[in-house]
Symmetry: C2
Subunit: 213 residues, 2 copies
């Protein structure tokens, strides 16, 4: 089995580069976790964080899927960041720019307390870098009732498409606008109470250019 | 089988409203399509467009998954728009705001030529409303070599989370900032050639506030 989807048709999109994979995984807040149980395939959006060569998920231990996943369920996890729409002069050649990582593997339950704590930190830091030092850390009880899952990044495929439009020769001089509509995530804050001023680490985070979630 | 994930734990998130589902499906450019073939579960990001009570996909007929999907494969398709990060004062109560549709069903191949043409139009209009009138339409040959797939919206679950932070009583007066970091998609254009000025329908589209892809 190959995880390199369409690699034969689009070899230029199959970028085998762990650094690129890591940058996609570190930037995106949502992974789609697909798995099959009792003959039914599910596809669940979950937040996650990477530490080293694994990504980690958390869930209530009472969550419907925690027991399925923690039993070593095989999964296919996709993380895709959409960077833009590529408008060619023909509808047929219209496409998208994206960065995508697809991971195949088996989830495993995390038992070690210190590791659970480290995952909690990584998940908080993923929301906003700097957040871990500005929140109440999880209690032992909160760690105990939370399930933590690890997916090793052993078998993965990376695809990056950053092209401009590519039209057939016969279409190139058509009078239609062609080009890229590029996407960025713009962030703003909505405070919940007046207990604290907006901290610098949040102000800096939302001002950062170039994030697509 | 119920498609209403976690409905017992979070009944407030299970919003049964076809209009909400349609608005999510019409706004998001990417669906994650999960299916199982030969015992392996895959999870593929694909663009799509809704017409009435179905969503439609297209693919090269030579694509690796087209043959699997067009044979009536059962799928679980998730479309999720991430609206923001909800920072509670405790790491434990930190969450996300999102709008999500999960659809269970079976893909079916579209045979009718006029329907294929209508799907091509819907896909072009989804990229930018107004685009269909400003591009070269597909030729008969382009339609012939493209596979079109339909997924009826018969069995779906909608979840919308739009909450502010909710902390435990004991945490409420902690000195940490709490609130929402809200996401919007900001768009800009990168022209490919100088054949055409930026058309009004694209300028209006990218100026529209409130899009999250």
């Amino acid at each position: 089995m190959s995880a390199d989807i369409d690699v034969h048709r689009h070899p230029e999109r199959a970028v085998h580069d762990r650094d690129v994979a890591n940058s996609i995984l570190d930037q995106s807040l949502i992974a789609h976790v697909a798995f099959t149980t009792d003959g039914i395939t599910f596809n669940i959006p979950m937040t996650f964080a990477r530490i080293g060569n694994s990504i980690f998920f958390h869930s209530s231990k009472h969550g419907r899927f925690y027991n399925v996943l923690q039993s070593g369920s095989s999964v296919c996890v996709d993380v895709t960041i959409l960077d833009g729409v590529v408008l060619a002069k023909s509808a047929y050649n219209t496409s998208m720019n994206y960065r995508s990582v697809m991971i195949f593997g088996n989830m495993r339950d995390v038992a070690d307390y210190d590791m659970k704590y480290a995952i909690s930190e990584a998940l908080a830091e993923k929301m906003v870098p700097g957040r871990w030092n500005d929140c109440r850390h999880p209690s032992e009880d909160e760690i105990r009732i939370t399930g933590f899952l690890e997916l090793p990044l052993d078998q993965m495929s990376v695809k990056v498409n950053t092209h401009g439009p590519s039209d057939k020769k016969m279409d190139e001089m058509l009078p239609h606008w062609s080009g890229i509509i590029a996407f960025k995530t713009a962030m703003s804050t909505i405070p919940h109470d007046a207990v604290a001023e907006l901290p610098d680490y949040i102000a800096e985070h939302i001002a950062t250019d170039g994030k697509n979630t």
